[in-house]
C-alpha cells in the first residue's frame, strides 16, 4: 500500500475575476522512502498541490473542490483540523522556497527549531534543545553549539535553508515536502543542500516530494518524476525513462529548451505561445494551443493519464494511440 495516495485533487481559487483552477484533477501515489519529483513551470499547480495536502491553502479564496489524499487511513483533505495538526509538522513536514522569509526574524533559531518537538512530543525543553543541537550538527552547521541561540539574520541563505531542513526533520517525519528548496540559492550552495537532503533521506528512510522547475535538479535526486502543466499531470515516469524517452509533447519540448543540452550558436528550441489562462475552462488537452501534434480530437477530448509503458504514464491522446 502506498504511503500517500492522492486521487482526483481539484483546488481552485475563487477571485473577483473568476474561478482559477490551479489544480485540476491530480492523482498520484508516493511509496515509502521514495523521492518523487514534481516538475512544471510557474503556475502549473505544483505548489498548490503541496499546499492542498498540508492544509495550507487559504480558504477563501481557495477551495478544495474534490479529491482524497489518503495517508495512513486518514484523508488529509477532509479530516478535522485537529487531526491534521497532529500530522502536519510531525509525520509530514514541509520546507519552503525562500529561506529568507520562512523563518521568524524575531525568534532565536533554537526556539523555532525545537517548536515542533515541544508541540508534538512530551519532551522537556532541555532534551528538546539537545535534539535541536544534534539536528543542527546533522545538517552541517559548523559550531552549532554557539549558533543555536543566534537569530536568523545572523545566518546566510544556505545556512537558513539548513535550519529549515533541521526544523522539518527534527520530528523524523515519514514524508518531507520540499517546495523549490534550492531555487533561491547559488549553485554551489544548491549542490550542498541537495547532497544533504539525499543523505538525510537515506538515513531516516523518509519519502520526499521534491517540487522544482529545474529538470537538472530532478535528474540527480528523484526516483520518479511527474510533469505538471496547467494544473494537471501530463506525464509520469521513473527518472531515467523520463529523461531518455519523454513521450508527452510538453515534456519533450521542455527538455529541448534547456540550454545545456544544445550546441552553442544554434538557436534554442522554444515552446511557442504561453501557458493557458486557468480562469477559463479548458476543453480538451490544455497543451493544444502550443502543441505541434495537436489534432481536432485533442481539442475535443480531455486526455487521461494512462500507462503507455510499465514505468510511464502519459496524458496525450496521440501517444496513447501509438501515433507519437
Amino acid at each position: 500500500m502506498p504511503l500517500l495516495e492522492v486521487t482526483d485533487l481539484r483546488t481552485s481559487f475563487h477571485t473577483r475575476s473568476g474561478v482559477y483552477r490551479a489544480v485540476d484533477g491530480v492523482s498520484f501515489s508516493l511509496e515509502k522512502g521514495e523521492t518523487l519529483g514534481l516538475v512544471g513551470e510557474s503556475g502549473s499547480g505544483k505548489s498548490v498541490t503541496c499546499y492542498s495536502l498540508m492544509g495550507l491553502v487559504p480558504q477563501p479564496p481557495g477551495r478544495i473542490e474534490s479529491g482524497r489524499a489518503m495517508f495512513d487511513g486518514i484523508d488529509l483533505l477532509h479530516c478535522p483540523a485537529a487531526q491534521l495538526r497532529a500530522i502536519r509538522g510531525k509525520r509530514i513536514a514541509m520546507i519552503f522556497q525562500d529561506p529568507m522569509t520562512s523563518l521568524n526574524p524575531y525568534l532565536r533559531i533554537s526556539e523555532q527549531l525545537i517548536e515542533p518537538l515541544l508541540i508534538h512530543q512530551k519532551i522537556s525543553k532541555a532534551d528538546a534543545l539537545a535534539r535541536g543541537l544534534a539536528m543542527l550538527e546533522a545538517v552541517g552547521i559548523n559550531d552549532a553549539a554557539n549558533r543555536l541561540h543566534s537569530y536568523p539574520h545572523e545566518f546566510s541563505g544556505g545556512m537558513r535553508q539548513r535550519v529549515m531542513i533541521a526544523m522539518a526533520l527534527i520530528t523524523r517525519p515519514e514524508i518531507l515536502i520540499a517546495d523549490e528548496p534550492t531555487t533561491a540559492l547559488d549553485v554551489t550552495v544548491q549542490a550542498q543542500i541537495l547532497e544533504l537532503i539525499k543523505n538525510l533521506q537515506s538515513e531516516l528512510g523518509m519519502a520526499v516530494i521534491f517540487v522544482t522547475h529545474d529538470l537538472g535538479v530532478v535528474s540527480g535526486l528523484c526516483d520518479r518524476v511527474q510533469v505538471m502543466y496547467a494544473g494537471r499531470i501530463v506525464e509520469t515516469a521513473d527518472t531515467r525513462t523520463l529523461f531518455h524517452s519523454p513521450r508527452h509533447p510538453y515534456t519533450r519540448a521542455l527538455q529541448r529548451s534547456i540550454p545545456s543540452l544544445q550546441p552553442k550558436g544554434r538557436e534554442l528550441y522554444t515552446i511557442p505561445g504561453l501557458p493557458p489562462d486557468l480562469s477559463n475552462p479548458i476543453a480538451g488537452c490544455a497543451f493544444v494551443p502550443r502543441c505541434e501534434y495537436a489534432t481536432d480530437l485533442c481539442r475535443a477530448t480531455d486526455p487521461r493519464l494512462l500507462p503507455v509503458d510499465p514505468t510511464q504514464a502519459t496524458a496525450c491522446l496521440r501517444v496513447q494511440a501509438g501515433e507519437l
Binding site: T188, S260, T270
Partner: protein, 327 residues
C-alpha cells in the same frame, strides 16, 4: 579582433561601511569590485558569472556609472567615463544601456508600453515628435511584440513579454553596448529560451556588444563568446565560453561547473562532484591571499598570503591561481 569598444582598467568600486548612530565612524570597506580589467569587442557577447555577492551586479552598475568608481577607468570608445561630467555620461548612455533582472520591478507600472519606449527617444531627442509612434512600433516589432499592445500597461503582460519591453527600451537609442544583469533568471525555462534567442539575434543583427550577467552557467555558455568568472570582486578566470566550461582551470570554476545539475540522470548519478564547503565569505572581511583559499580543495599555506594575479592559462585564457600548473 578589432579594437575593443569597452575597456575596463583595474576598476575598483568600494563601499564605505559606517556604524554608530550619533557619531558615524568608518568601520570598514566592502570591496565589491576590486581590480577588474576587461575588454569587450564590438558584437561580442561576454558572459559574467559568479555567486550572489561576488560583485557582478556592482560591476554592471560601475560600467554604466550608476555607482561612483573608487579607482580605475571605464573607457567606452576611447572616452573615459570615470572622469566624465554628468552631461558627458548622459550622452555616453546613448551607447551604453542596461537590462535588469526583474521585469516586474524595472518597468514603471503607471506608464504604457508606448510611454516607456518613447521616453528615451524624447529625452535624447533622437527623433522628432511626429516620428515617435512609428519608431516605438518598430522597436516593439524588433523584440517580437505586436505594436497593437502599445497602449497597454506592464501588468497586462507576462514576465517574458515584460522582459521584451525592457529590452526594447534598452535598444531604443541604438546603443553599442548592452549590459544585461540576470535578464532571464526570473523566467521559466521555455520563456528563458525565447529571450536568449532574441538577445542572440539582436547582437548579430545590430553588431551589439553584450555583457551578459548570470549565475546559471549553462545559460551563459549558450549565449557567450567569452566567459569571465568572478569571485569576491575579482575575476578568477577568463576565456572562450566552451573552453572555460568544458576545461575549467581555476578551482573555483571547476567547483562551479561540477555544481550545475545536468538534466541527464546517468551522468548526474555517476559524476564526481566537487562540493565546496561553506558559503561565500563576507566581502567586508575577505580572506587574506587568494580569497578562495578557505573553500579551495587545493589550497596550500602559500595561498593564504599570495594574492594571485590573472596569468595566461592557455590560448586566449587567463586564470588567477598560483597552483595552475600543479592541479
Amino acid at each position: 579582433m578589432t579594437s575593443p569598444i569597452l575597456r575596463l582598467n583595474d576598476v575598483k568600486t568600494h563601499f564605505p561601511v559606517d556604524s554608530g548612530f550619533l557619531t558615524r565612524k568608518r568601520t570598514g570597506t566592502v570591496k565589491a569590485v576590486d581590480g577588474v580589467s576587461l575588454t569587450v569587442a564590438r558584437g561580442e557577447v561576454l558572459g559574467l558569472v559568479g555567486e550572489s555577492g561576488c560583485g557582478k551586479s556592482t560591476l554592471a552598475r560601475t560600467i554604466l556609472q550608476l555607482v561612483p568608481t573608487t579607482a580605475g577607468t571605464v573607457i567606452l570608445e576611447g572616452k573615459n567615463l570615470t572622469s566624465a561630467t554628468a552631461g558627458e555620461i548622459l550622452t555616453a548612455r546613448r551607447d551604453l544601456q542596461m537590462v535588469f533582472q526583474d521585469p516586474f520591478a524595472s518597468l514603471n507600472p503607471r506608464l504604457t508600453v508606448y510611454a516607456t519606449l518613447a521616453e528615451p527617444l524624447l529625452v535624447h531627442r533622437v527623433v522628432t515628435a511626429g516620428q515617435v509612434r512609428a519608431r516605438v512600433a518598430q522597436l516593439m516589432e524588433k523584440v517580437g511584440l505586436s505594436p497593437q499592445f502599445m497602449e497597454k500597461y506592464p501588468h497586462e503582460f507576462s514576465g517574458g513579454q515584460r522582459q521584451r519591453i525592457a529590452i526594447a527600451r534598452a535598444l531604443a537609442l541604438e546603443p553599442k553596448v548592452i549590459v544585461a544583469d540576470e535578464p532571464v533568471s526570473a523566467l521559466d525555462v521555455s520563456i528563458q529560451a525565447q529571450i536568449l534567442n532574441l538577445l542572440a539575434k539582436l547582437c548579430r543583427e545590430m553588431n551589439l556588444a553584450l555583457i551578459f550577467i548570470a549565475h546559471d552557467l549553462s545559460v551563459v555558455k549558450h549565449i557567450s563568446d567569452r566567459i569571465a568568472v568572478m569571485y569576491l570582486g575579482k575575476i578568477v578566470e577568463l576565456g572562450p565560453a566552451a573552453d572555460v566550461i568544458e576545461r575549467p582551470r581555476h578551482p573555483y570554476t571547476r567547483a562551479l561547473v561540477s555544481a550545475i545539475p545536468t538534466p541527464d540522470p546517468d551522468r548526474e548519478r555517476t559524476k564526481k562532484r566537487l562540493v565546496l564547503a561553506g558559503d561565500l565569505p563576507s566581502p567586508l572581511n575577505p580572506p587574506s591571499g587568494c580569497a578562495f583559499h578557505p573553500r579551495c580543495p587545493y589550497a596550500q599555506t602559500k595561498c593564504q598570503t599570495i594574492v594571485p594575479p590573472l596569468i595566461p592559462a592557455g590560448p586566449n585564457r587567463e586564470a588567477a591561481c598560483i597552483r595552475l600548473d600543479e592541479i
